[in-house]
Structures are given as C-alpha cells and as structure tokens.
C-alpha cells in the first residue's frame, strides 16, 4: 500500500468505528428514554401502557399497605392520585406525605413500580415530584378562575 492509501485506510477505519458507535448510541438512546408523567396526566390517559416511565408526587397519607414483601400505596399531585404496587424494600426516606418518584409501568390503571427512588436529604424534594405538584397547583388556580368568571 502507498502511504496515501494507508492514511485513507486509517481514516476510513476511524469513520467506521465512530459511525458504528454513533448508531449504537442513538439506537440505545431511543429505546431507553424514560419519560415523566404526573398523576393528573395519568388520569387523563396521557401516559403510555407497556412502556416504562416515571411517576412523581407525594405519598398519600394513610395509603401505605404492606402484605409480606409487597406494598401498595398511592401517589398524588394533590389533584389526582394513582395507585402503586411495589415488591421489595422501600428506601429509608420513603414516608407518607413526603415526595417520591417511582419508575415502572402502568397496568390496568395500577402503576407497577420496579424502582422507588431514594434521596439523601429529608427536605429535598425530587425535581420531578416538585414539578408535578406545581403543575397541579397551576391547574387548580385555572379551574378556580374559570369557575369564578363563569356567569
């Protein structure tokens, strides 16, 4: 091979490696994005079934029920609540009335959580949960406003 050809071969090899890597990355990326939904969105049937997503909000007071390793509770954004099923050990900072984010799939209106996320700090609110509460509060205000302005 001439030096020119060698350089071409190296360049082509690099392009092939980078190209393959990019294809791999984008493909994995497409199929592994986890979207976030609020209880209100789930109530409005906006959440997909058969696909993993995240659900955030507050744990409803008095909703936590344990049977063996299975636990059922509800997550609310103060407007709507979604029942959640989880099997296993909940994080230390999981408490009724506190913020929570769960990851899993929706099956027949019940959120089957694969993972319930833990946080370091008791006063720390997961941004997703905070967002859900804020959206619900804004929606509330809007409904209130329409109710008032309606004749």
């Amino acid at each position: 091979m001439t030096p020119r050809r060698k350089r071409m071969a190296i360049a082509l090899g690099l392009v092939a490696v980078v190209g393959a890597a990019t294809a791999l990355v984008l493909n994995a990326f497409q199929s592994n994005l986890v979207f976030f939904y609020t209880p209100t969105q789930i109530d409005a049937k906006e959440a997909p079934s058969g696909r993993t997503f995240r659900l955030g909000g507050l744990v409803v007071e008095g909703s936590v029920k344990r049977t063996g390793v299975n636990v059922a509770f509800e997550i609310t954004d103060t407007a709507k609540a979604v029942p959640v099923q989880f099997s296993g050990i909940l994080p230390d900072l999981f408490k009724e009335g506190k913020g929570v984010v769960a990851q899993g799939q929706l099956e027949n209106g019940v959120f089957q959580a694969k993972e319930v996320l833990a946080k370091h700090d008791e006063n720390y609110m997961p941004p997703e949960a905070a967002e859900a509460l804020k959206n619900a509060a804004i929606a509330n205000q809007k409904t209130a406003a329409t109710l008032v302005s309606a004749p």
Partner: protein, 652 residues
C-alpha cells in the same frame, strides 16, 4: 465567639488577591521576557497555598470546637458528632467541599512549583499562572455564592448534624481522593495551555506532563472506587454503580484521562499525536469542571443533589464557558502550528493507541449525551425525562469490549509498523487461554451465559497478553533461563506499571462479569426463627434488639449464616435512627470474601414482629475495587520510573 472564622474569611480574600497576581504577573513576564516578573510565580504559588491552608484550618477548628455561629458548621455538625466525622464534616456540604477543592488546587500548584526546578523559567511561569487563574475562578465562586464562613446570628445551641449517610470512614476519604484526581487534571491542562502559548510542544513537554497526569488519574481511580464501594455498603441495596449523573461526572474525566495517558505515551516516544494530546488535556479538565457544575449546581436529580440555589449553577456555567471557550480558541489558533508528528503504518502500536483513544472519547461523549440530554430538554421546557442504566449499559459495554481487545494487542505491537501475521502468531496462546478459561469458568459456575463469557473473555485475553509480553521480555527466543532474573530486573518500572494496571482492568472485568451473571438478590419476609437458603448459604433470623450508638439508636438484626451446614457466622445488619435529623438509615452487614460477599440488610418491620430482609450473595464483587486498586498501583509504579526521577523530578 472567636475571631477564627473571620481570619479564615480574610485569608480567602487575601488568597484571591494573590491568585490574581499569580494569574497575571508571571504570564505577562513570560510574554515580555521579564525574568523578575516570571520569578514571582513560585512565590505566588507558595503564598496562595499558605493562605488557603489557613482558611481551611480555620474551618476545621470551627468544626472541632462546635462554633455554631458559623452557618455552615451549624448545618453540618452537632455536639454529639464524633471527632473524625466533625473533621470530615468540613467537606460534607457544598461550601466546605469547594474549599477542599481550592485547597487541593493550591496543593497541586505548590507541588508543580516545588518539582519543576529543571523546567525553563518561562514554562513554569505560564503553568503556575494558568493554575492561579483557575484559583481566581473558584475563589470568586466561593466568596460570592458559597462562603463557608458566613455567620449565623444568634448562634444556635446545637447544630443540625452531618447527614448520617456521610458518617462513614469511606466518606471521610472519598471526597479528598476524588478531588485530588479532578483537580489534578488542571496540571495537565496548565501544561497544555503553557505549551500552546510558548509553542514548545514536543516529546520533552510530554515527558514533563506524563507523571502529573498519571498521578491525577491514580487519585481519580481510587476516588471513584471508594465512592462506588461506599454506595455498595452504605446505601443498603447492594449495587456498586448506578449510572447516577454524579457518578457519570467522575467517570467522564476518568475516561478522558485514560485516553490522555495513552496519547501522551505516543507524544513522548514518537513525538506524534501532539495536537490530539493537547486537545485531550483540555477536554479532561473541562470535563472535571463540568462534573463540578453537575454536582454543585443541583440541576440534576441525583443521590448527591442537595438543595441549592440557581446563582451557583449560573456562576459555574459562566466559568466553564470562559475556561472551555478560551482554551479552545487558543487551541484553534495555535494547534495548526504544532504539526502532526511522525508517520505510522496502518498496523502499528500508534494505530492501536489511536483506536483506544477514539473508543474512550466516544464512550465519554455517549455518557455525556445520556447525562445532559434530560437537562437540555428540561431547560427548553420540553418535558422531564430520565435516561436510565439500560442506556448506559447498552452503550458502554460494546464500546469498551473492543478497547479491551486493543489493550491486549497494543502492548505487543511495535511502534511505526508491525507485521500483522507475526503479531497474531505471538498472541495465539493468549487467545487460546482466553477462550478456554472463559468457557471453563462458566462451566465451573454451573452455566455459560453470553454476557459473562464475553466479560471473562476480556479478562483472560488481557491476562494472556500481559503474560505473553512478560514471557517475551524475560525469556526472549534464543536466551537461556539463567538470564531470566536479570532480564526481569531490566523491565522498566513504567512498563511494569502498565502491565499491573492492565491486570487491574482484567480483575475489574472479572468481578463485573461474575457479579452481573451469578449474583443472587432476594427480598424475603422473615419472622424470628425463619430460615432462607441462597446458593448454599442458610440464613437464620434471630430477631432484632435495640442498641445505643453515640448519636443514634439502632435496631440490630441477628442473622446466623451457615454454609452447607458448616461453620456458623453471625451477621448484624442495623436500622439506625439518628437523633438529630431523625432519618432512618440502613446499615448493611457484609461478610467480605475473596470469592463472594454475603450481604444482609434490614428493610422494614411488618406485622407480627417479622422483618423484610434483603439477602444477597455477590460472587467476586470485591475484585471490582481490587482491580481499581491494581490500576492505581500500576500508575504509581509507572510514575516512579527512573527516567522521570532523573530528568523530570518525582511528581507529588
């Protein structure tokens, strides 16, 4: 009330002044050729270090003496907190960890000042100036947005206590190690900027830079490993890597640092890859800064996210933009003059190293995409998403597998041009060993699976290649065995270090493959007297009893474990409530072994005095961290090589 916090605060302002002088005067001196200005560089570095150290000691004293009139101390300490955690509390929160960061930066600056006697004065002046400028940025950040010496009036009688998760020996040393690594890349960065400015980018430059980069990389390796093992034993769910944004933030600089180390080898030995090496040096430090931004701005939902305010994030973002923008502009301006270096053939050591560099860089960029994309969407108001471990697993492993393959080939390939058939012939034993051993281990473990076989192939391929390399050096064709010991002693330390580090990768791959494939995780409900059997280990639950710690109360589980009816061992997992913050904390009980860890942690109490208990058996998990330790030791061995000691001085 004492004046000590005021002294610390004042020292930081003085340090800012000194850092400004250090950043400007020697640089101007190097540009104009004024020796007296350049001569100020070392003095400035020592003064800066002294002042920041005074500030650091002041904060330590405030912690040790329970000075709750300092807001930061009141939020991160408590009179019941044991002394070692009061000291660790200095870097337990945002403000203090920044101070630690700056202290580390000054330590590196002083080390450069002390161990650079053999370098030309202009080079030293430029390097120390660049490091001074970085200090300016961080000091400004600390003084304007996150002052650790802010007072609290009236002083509370008691502090809020250190986060219980951080009250742990691993957490005492993890941040300093990690920061030494992060900040250490600033040295390679400063060397690169100095070389771009001075136009003296050659193999001598690479030889100066190499030990510094390796030492920083070493600290980063140990720091990441410590963080990972801390997550394993302290978070209570037995995982060792979560692809958490903050973990990614430390892995990206590590990948780039690894690429840099290899690229520097080409620059030193062959005077090649020069602009590439400089680019990597800039990128490695930029990713360290980006990591700081990710961790410290609180923009990410992560286990490390503390409540933070947005002005901090903005400041770091601006700082990051200035540093990265300026250095890339300089790079674009000066790099074309650097030249490409010597030619090399398609099949050569250079090609293998180039391939490994590209793979490492692509892996770092893929992680960057997965880490930043959620941020970007959120910032644009397009909704909240997260990118989970499946993405990172799917991307990282296929990229690292060929890199590990090249790791077996590269060390045996020759510089400039290597004969492919003879290279393949030399590696035939390594390949055979890899295939047989990986299938053999699978068979021994009871089942052969694709993922584990792939991981094991990588492991034994590297082991085989290192063994071949060693064999050829100790017992070259035509030599007698009597010469072997003498030949072994002739192996330079740099080379031995490389071999050791590569064996570390092998050990790491082995641990990962074994844990991923053969671990058993079981959550079970256990009443007193219940037993459960996992992989031949029988766990018998003996109930819980209450226990008083220095600043917590604990429910301690009594778990008896026997293996195939043999010797009995007692494991005591705890559920702690720390008195001040009233947070529950799971303290797992781990029985560490070379071939397996037993892992027991308490979940919650359920009806009838029974508990939900996690019972895990993790085969060869400690090899993961053992591998990291080997890598770091390899780095150390390489740094102590004669040629750096004689010509370049020992690194820090």
């Amino acid at each position: 009330m004492t004046l000590i916090p005021e002294i610390g605060h004042f020292a930081l302002w003085l340090a800012l002044g000194v850092a400004l002088c250090l950043g400007v005067v020697p640089m101007a001196g190097a540009a104009t050729g004024r020796r007296d200005w350049m001569g100020l560089a070392r003095l400035g570095a020592y003064a800066l270090f002294a002042l920041v150290t005074v500030a650091f000691i002041c904060l330590v004293v405030a912690f040790v003496r329970h000075d709750f009139s300092v807001l930061y101390v009141a939020s991160n300490s408590n009179t019941a907190l044991p002394l070692q955690y009061r000291i660790a509390g200095v870097w337990g929160g945002h403000e203090g960890s920044l101070l630690l960061w700056v202290e580390m930066l000054c330590l590196w600056t002083v080390a450069v000042a002390a161990f650079s006697k053999h370098l030309p004065q202009a080079v030293v002046a430029r390097i120390l100036s660049v490091m001074g400028l970085i200090s300016v940025g961080f000091l400004l950040f600390m003084l304007f947005t996150s002052n650790p010496f802010d007072r609290l009036f009236p002083a509370p009688p008691e502090g809020r206590d250190l986060n219980p998760l951080l009250q742990d020996l691993g957490m005492v040393i993890h941040p300093p190690m990690l920061y030494m690594g992060y900040v250490g890349f600033s040295v390679a960065f400063a060397f690169a900027i100095a070389a771009l400015l001075g136009g003296n980018l050659d193999s001598t430059w690479a030889r100066w830079t190499r030990p510094w980069t390796t030492v920083a990389w070493m600290f980063l390796t140990v720091g990441i490993a410590l963080g990972s093992s801390w997550a394993y034993y302290e978070l209570g769910w037995g995982g060792w890597w979560f692809w958490d944004p903050v973990e990614n933030a430390s892995l990206m600089p590590w990948l780039l640092g690894t690429a840099l180390i290899h690229s520097l080898a080409v620059t030193e030995k062959r005077n090649g890859f020069k602009s590439w090496t400089v680019l990597l040096a800039i990128l490695a430090f930029s990713f360290s800064l980006l990591g700081t931004f990710l961790v410290r701005s609180g923009v990410l939902s992560s286990v490390h996210a503390f409540a933070t305010d947005p002005s901090r994030g903005l400041f770091i973002l601006v700082f990051l933009t200035v540093v990265v923008g300026a250095s890339f502009a300089l790079y674009a301006w000066r790099a074309p003059t650097v030249g490409l270096g010597k030619r090399f053939a398609l099949w050569s050591k250079e090609s293998a190293l180039l391939g490994n560099n590209v793979l490492l860089l692509v892996a770092a960029l893929a992680i960057l995409l997965g880490t930043l994309y959620p941020l970007l969407l959120d910032a644009l108001g397009l909704g909240k998403i997260s990118v989970g471990p499946p993405y990172f697993d799917a991307v990282f492993m296929p990229l690292m597998a060929p890199a590990v393959f090249l790791m077996g080939v590269g060390p045996l390939a020759r510089w400039k041009e290597t004969d492919l058939p003879s290279l393949a012939l030399r590696l035939r034993w390594a390949a055979a060993v890899a295939v047989l051993a990986s299938l053999g281990v699978g068979a021994l473990a009871g089942e052969v699976r694709l993922v584990s076989t792939l991981g094991l192939l990588m492991t034994f391929w590297v082991v085989g290649s290192v063994a071949t390399d060693l064999w050829e050096r100790v017992h070259p064709a035509g030599s007698s065995w009597a010469e072997a010991p003498a030949k072994a002693r002739q192996i330079p330390r740099a080379l031995a270090g490389m071999m050791l580090a590569h064996l570390g990768i092998a050990a790491f791959c082995f641990g990962v493959a074994m844990v991923k494939t053969y671990e058993v995780e079981r959550d079970v409900k256990m009443a007193v007297g219940d037993t459960t059997t996992v992989r031949g280990y029988t766990f018998t639950f003996g109930g819980v009893k209450e226990l008083q710690g220095p600043n917590y109360v604990a429910m301690q589980g009594q778990m008896q474990v026997s293996h195939d009816g043999g010797a009995v061992l007692e494991m005591r997992p705890e559920k702690r409530i720390y008195r001040v913050q009233q947070n529950p904390m799971t303290e797992a009980a781990i029985d560490v072994g070379v071939t397996r860890d037993l892992y027991v942690s308490l979940g919650e109490q359920v009806e009838g005095g029974a508990w939900i208990v996690r019972v895990y058996v993790k085969p060869f998990i400690d090899w993961i961290w053992g591998g990291c330790l080997l890598m770091a030791l390899g780095g150390w061995l390489a740094v102590t090589d004669r040629r750096y000691r004689l010509k370049a001085g020992a690194a820090a």
